[in-house]
């Protein structure tokens, strides 16, 4: 049992997968996003997901609001302008960090290395695939909903219409045929890039270095690119232009089951102590 909560467990799990492939993932570069939402539509079309509803939210151009059981790609829109302001330029005629801007970011399941949703699933419906992704087996899911509060990003959600949990599968069915996930395929500007995670990380590092070297987007940073974070690294990571919380992302996410091992140990000690105390008490009583 302690194995499950070991820091290297997920990596080992992937390495020992019977059909292990290179771990696949997404690198979403928000400097290239034009907010067209083609990813949202392509995802719903391919995965046959229903519309969530038809209400105007008033949150800029975002009317789907969040990732949930039937929205697996979601584009956030963050307006940062002063009235009448237009982006100010420095001498190189580039957009400066403090200028008016409209941030857009296509969010998705992070396919965590330490996936709490998978850890807490009592039925085994949530599994790690040969691509290193986290997948919900719809025919196994019993709708208990344990995974929902476990997710540190609020990604996985239970659907009212069929009672099952749902989230991005990284288009598992397409991957099995060697195809690109539908969102990345539909993205017209390569804001969503799909590939081998290691290669994507290298590519993202080069991209960040280039942006900084050219003096463009000097406040750009990579979110969830590293493996030493609270989720042990993500299968989907991002190049952001502002703090994660500005996009509705947790700044320091961690695997909500990370302390479970310790807790269980404490519980075991406590239980043992209790047994000991009881025994001692019994002994004492006998005396």
């Amino acid at each position: 049992m302690s194995d499950l909560y070991d820091d290297t467990a997920a990596e080992r799990e992937m390495a020992t997968h019977p059909q292990a492939e290179a771990r696949k993932g997404f690198f979403t570069d928000t400097t290239l996003c034009i907010g067209c939402k083609a990813c949202e539509v392509a995802c719903k079309e391919w995965n046959q997901l229903p519309a969530d509803g038809y209400s105007f939210t008033g949150h800029s151009y975002d009317n789907t609001g969040e990732l949930n059981g039937s929205t697996w790609r979601h584009v956030a829109f963050v307006e940062q302008l002063r009235n009448g302001a237009t982006p100010q330029e420095d001498e190189q005629q580039v957009v400066r960090a403090d200028a008016g801007r409209w941030l857009m970011e296509s969010d998705v399941c992070k396919h965590c290395t330490h996936a709490a949703c998978l850890d807490v699933c009592p039925t085994g419906a949530l599994v790690r695939t040969e691509f290193g992704t986290v997948f919900v087996q719809q025919d196994v899911c019993n709708g208990c909903g344990y995974c929902v509060p476990a997710c540190p990003f609020g990604v996985i959600d239970k659907r009212e219409y069929d009672g099952h949990a749902g989230k991005c599968t990284l288009c598992y069915d397409r991957l099995q045929d060697g195809e690109t996930p539908s969102c990345a395929k539909a993205c017209p500007t390569e804001s969503i890039q799909y590939g081998d995670l290691e290669e994507l990380r290298t590519r993202a590092d080069a991209r960040l270095e280039k942006l900084q070297r050219e003096g463009r987007y000097t406040d750009a940073s990579l979110y969830l690119r590293d493996t030493d974070n609270g989720i042990g690294g993500a299968g989907a990571f991002f190049l952001l232009l502002d703090k994660p919380e500005v996009y509705g992302l947790p700044p320091d996410p961690f695997d909500t089951t990370r302390d479970l091992g310790r807790l269980w140990k404490h519980a075991a000690y406590a239980a043992l102590a209790l047994v000991g105390v009881t025994a001692l008490a019994a002994v004492g009583t006998r005396r």
Binding site: I34, G35, C36, F56, N83, W102
Partner: protein, 885 residues
């Protein structure tokens, strides 16, 4: 497309999407390209990533602005002032590309001494007839030489609905009309550009007052921002660098739309940015295959390939050809194009004796564009209407007028994927709600026919860059759905069966048509590739022709659209080619097929200097190979392949032979880019800033407020607000502008009906600045009512800093942004922005002004039923306008 057509020779984008990656600077104006052309926009992003400056000049900060390197605000309806300011900047600071301008444009040409500029006449050009609100174009001509425009008005009368005045020709004018080019030149030129009547000096004078300060006063664009744009364009033009421009409906939807586009073309000519890599003007079209529907036109005044439709009184072919044939350039072969077309349509019946059945063609006797047609329905003179590929009940300006017009028809055919508003207005529409229409009173017989979608039929799209791309049928149409081709073909067959026994001469026009395509499958769908082959045409041997230069005027060749000749070269459907980009050069000549002759970049001879050498190594594209004695390069040369740069035409030469080896604009009568347009446009030879039909301010440049030749239909059904400082104008204090969103398609028939699109923008909304919201007590997320003299609509309120306020001539002007996608049918429903607009239009192309007008805004939802009319009438009363009928 006469803005580009008259200036450069062809009414199409000069460049192609993929070439934008080579631009050093891209100006996107009159377009929200990232939102409305997201796939093509990848090439703008590519250019930006390569270091290009991407400038977005727009009234709002949109998704395009968000990824541009610079957003510059501009008041809706002031584009010519801005662009004219750039022309002024180029001339004042001597930034024009001298060798390009002197050799490739009509800058040196001397203009008729009778010509007077707007500077002399308070905003009018010479030749204005105030009684008819129209111009006599004679004084705009070259001195001693009459030129024929490559587009627009190309016949000498107003019969076709053109707003022009004509007169009897004087002997001098007659001589000028018949005079040929001399050695490829107009008779009077001054290559030093100093003659006071040369085009360059006229241009300089015309734009002298379009200063950065004036731009700020008119456009509300801070002077520094304007100067940064002008400088960026100049700094990124010349031998070593090129700039491109992208525009769309933000430029066309004005009473001076064609002239706006022309101003852009003039800037690109002055800077040497036509025909070169990374240069040009990309006309971004508003619909799939809308380029195709002007090439093979759904327009009343054109035949396929931009051949003019003959007018009433044009009895013989000889007269038609005399009026429409150009002195020089490829419009000198009007006879070959027209006769080949007639052979395609009338086959063996078309003979030299009967003038190739020229008499069978319809003759136009007025303006039969969509708005006059709707007025005719309203008045009862137009009885029937095929409504296909459009949804006027939502998508046309003053939509209520269109719904009432259709309710007055005898019959209406709607072919669509869904029961759109234009099919359901008789029982479900705002007029039914207010009681203006009653179902029981509507006598219109409406036929709603299900249409096959693009996956259910073979055919081609001609996209924004003149590229024909073939699509194959994936599945059979469901139920009774049929393709457009099926519908028209079988309708034609049934009509012909009924007329078979007729001996009435007028029925020969139908009975003698070639109408025999192979029918495929259980549905008997006509073979679309056979239609494309006929459009391409064939020679005397029956084999598909490979180029339009082989078309003849002797009846031996057939071609349904001369500019598409070559798409079926070698009996292959070249539009169906799909060789991946990775397996060919970046120009990708083997993906689909582009008209003309698979040229991707038009006028590309201009990528070389007058001697045929590339202007620079960096911008090499097409050049003269002196050894092989031919033009060569990365693209198909848009020039006579073996015409050397030093070619001088002999006396009496005609068509392309009359153009010298240094004239890249091969469709133009003189081979030059026209900075000054002597013929083809009805509202002036030089673009001039006028205020929109409805404006909150007076014209700061001229006494003339709006385009004097604009088309208007004033009536109680279509009232116009007082404009500028006129009494009553302040009743409608705000500027409204309409536009599209990525998430929806035009009038919504193909997007408000689909859950995955409808949920992304589920409700009609308006975008306003925080200051406007405060002024009118609007609450973010709640409702607002937008009022004009036409109607009032309600919308959710999106208060956003992305909609700036403007300081115009000391006055604060605030803008209301209105997406126009909504109507009352489908999953996502809402009021139609087009209910608010009046119908006023550009006089060259009859396109409505829906990008700038005035309105008022009040908090809360609109009144229902008759209370809505009461509200609108109250506004009308205050503005001094007649009440609703």
């Amino acid at each position: 497309m006469p803005g580009l057509g008259t200036t450069l020779g062809r009414g199409g984008a000069t460049t192609f999407m993929q070439d934008l990656q080579n631009s050093d600077c891209i100006l996107i104006m009159g377009s929200n390209m990232a939102e409305n052309h997201p796939v093509g926009f990848q090439w703008v992003m590519e250019a930006r990533e390569r270091g290009a400056e991407v400038i977005h000049v727009d009234p709002r900060f949109t998704r395009t602005s968000a990824v541009a390197t610079r957003h510059v605000k501009i008041r809706p309806g002031s584009d010519i002032a801005f662009l004219g300011g750039i022309v002024n900047y180029i001339i004042t600071h001597e930034r024009w590309f001298h060798d390009y301008v002197v050799n490739y444009t009509n800058a040196p040409v001397i203009i008729d001494p009778r010509y007077r500029d707007t500077e002399d006449l308070g905003g009018l050009f010479s030749g204005f007839d105030a009684k008819q609100d129209a111009y006599d174009l004679a004084s705009w001509q070259y001195e001693d030489l009459d030129m024929t425009g490559s587009a627009g008005r190309r016949m000498g009368s107003a019969v076709s609905g053109s707003k022009i005045v004509t007169h009897e020709l004087s002997p001098e004018e007659k001589a000028a009309e018949d005079r040929p080019l001399e050695h490829g030149e107009p008779p009077h030129v001054d290559v030093t550009l100093q003659h006071p009547r040369c085009v360059f000096q006229l241009l300089k004078k015309h734009y002298a007052r379009y200063t950065p300060e004036m731009v700020e006063r008119i456009c509300g664009t801070p002077k520094e921002q304007f100067l940064a744009v002008a400088e960026a364009l100049c700094a990124n033009s010349g031998r070593e660098r090129t700039s491109a421009m992208c525009y769309a409906l933000g430029w066309t939807h004005h009473t001076e739309g064609a002239q706006t586009i022309r101003t852009a073309a003039m800037i690109q000519l002055l800077l040497g940015n036509i025909g070169r890599p990374g240069s040009g003007i990309l006309a971004l079209r508003g619909h799939a295959s809308i380029q195709g529907s002007t090439d093979i036109p759904t327009l009343y005044e054109l035949l396929p390939g931009y051949i003019p439709m003959p007018e009433e009184g044009m009895t013989d072919l000889g007269k038609f050809l005399h009026e429409t044939t150009a002195k020089g350039g490829f419009w000198g072969h009007m006879d070959a194009y027209t006769i080949s077309l007639l052979k395609a349509w009338y086959g063996e019946h078309a003979t030299a004796e009967n003038e190739w059945c020229f008499g069978h063609l319809p003759r136009i006797n007025g303006d039969h564009s969509i708005y006059p047609a709707m007025m005719g329905m309203l008045q009862g003179t137009v009885k029937g209407f095929f409504c296909i590929g459009e949804n006027p009940a939502v998508g046309s300006a003053n939509a209520s007028l269109h719904r009432r017009a259709m309710a007055n028809l005898d019959w209406l055919v709607v072919r669509d994927l869904f029961e759109i508003e234009s099919a359901a207005f008789w029982y479900d529409s705002p007029e039914i709600e207010t009681g203006k229409l009653r179902t029981a009173d509507i006598k219109t017989e409406i036929f709603l026919l299900p249409a096959a979608d693009h996956l259910q039929k073979d055919g081609s799209f001609t996209n924004t860059q003149r590229l024909l791309q073939w699509h194959h049928k994936a599945v059979e149409p469901n139920g009774d759905a049929r393709s457009e081709l099926w519908f028209y073909y079988h309708l034609g067959k049934r009509i012909r069966e009924k007329l078979l026994a007729s001996s009435d001469p007028k029925d020969r026009a139908i009975n003698e048509l070639t109408w025999n395509y192979p029918e495929l499958g259980a549905l008997a769908d006509p073979d679309a590739s056979a239609v494309l082959r006929e459009i391409n045409g064939w020679g005397a041997d029956g084999k598909a022709l490979d180029t339009y230069t082989k078309l003849k005027a002797d009846g031996s060749t057939v071609s349904g659209c001369w500019i598409y000749c070559g798409v079926f070269t070698g009996e292959q459907n070249l539009a169906a080619r799909r060789k991946p980009g990775s397996e060919q050069s970046w120009v990708a000549p083997e993906w689909g097929w582009a008209w003309p002759a698979n040229r991707r970049q038009l006028y590309n001879r201009a990528s070389a200097d007058p001697d045929g050498k590339p202007w620079s190594e960096r911008k090499r594209y097409v050049w003269w190979d002196a050894e092989k004695k031919e033009w060569t390069g990365y693209d198909v040369p848009d020039f006579v392949k073996d015409k050397p740069p030093d070619y001088v035409p002999p006396d009496g030469a005609k068509a392309e032979k009359a153009l010298d080896g240094r004239s890249p604009f091969i469709m133009q009568g003189d081979g030059k880019g026209w900075l000054f347009v002597p013929d083809g446009l009805v509202d002036g030879p030089l673009p001039t800033h006028y205020e929109p039909e409805e404006s909150p301010v007076d014209n700061a440049l001229y006494a003339q407020q709006a385009n004097p030749v604009r088309e208007r239909w004033p009536s109680a059904n279509n009232p116009y607000h007082p404009s500028g400082s006129a009494p009553g104008a302040s009743v409608f204090p705000y500027v409204m502008t309409s536009y599209r969103l990525t998430e929806h398609h035009t009038a919504g028939g193909m997007s408000r009906t689909l859950p995955h699109l409808a949920e992304l923008q589920p409700e009609m909304f308006c975008e306003v600045s925080p200051a406007l919201a405060a002024e009118r007590g609007l609450v973010h997320g709640a409702w607002a009512t937008i009022v004009s003299a036409r109607s009032a609509i309600e919308a959710r309120v999106l208060v956003t800093d992305r909609v700036p306020d403007y300081q115009i001539q000391g006055q604060t002007v605030r803008v209301v942004g209105l997406p126009y996608h909504w109507g009352n049918r489908g999953i996502s429903v809402g009021d139609s922005a087009n209910d608010l607009w009046s119908i006023s239009a550009d006089p060259n192309v009859h396109i409505q002004e829906t990008k700038a007008a005035t309105c008022d805004v009040i908090a809360g939802r609109r009144p229902r039923g008759t209370a809505l009319s009461a509200l609108v009438n109250e506004y009308r009363r205050r503005a001094g306008l007649p009440a609703e009928e």
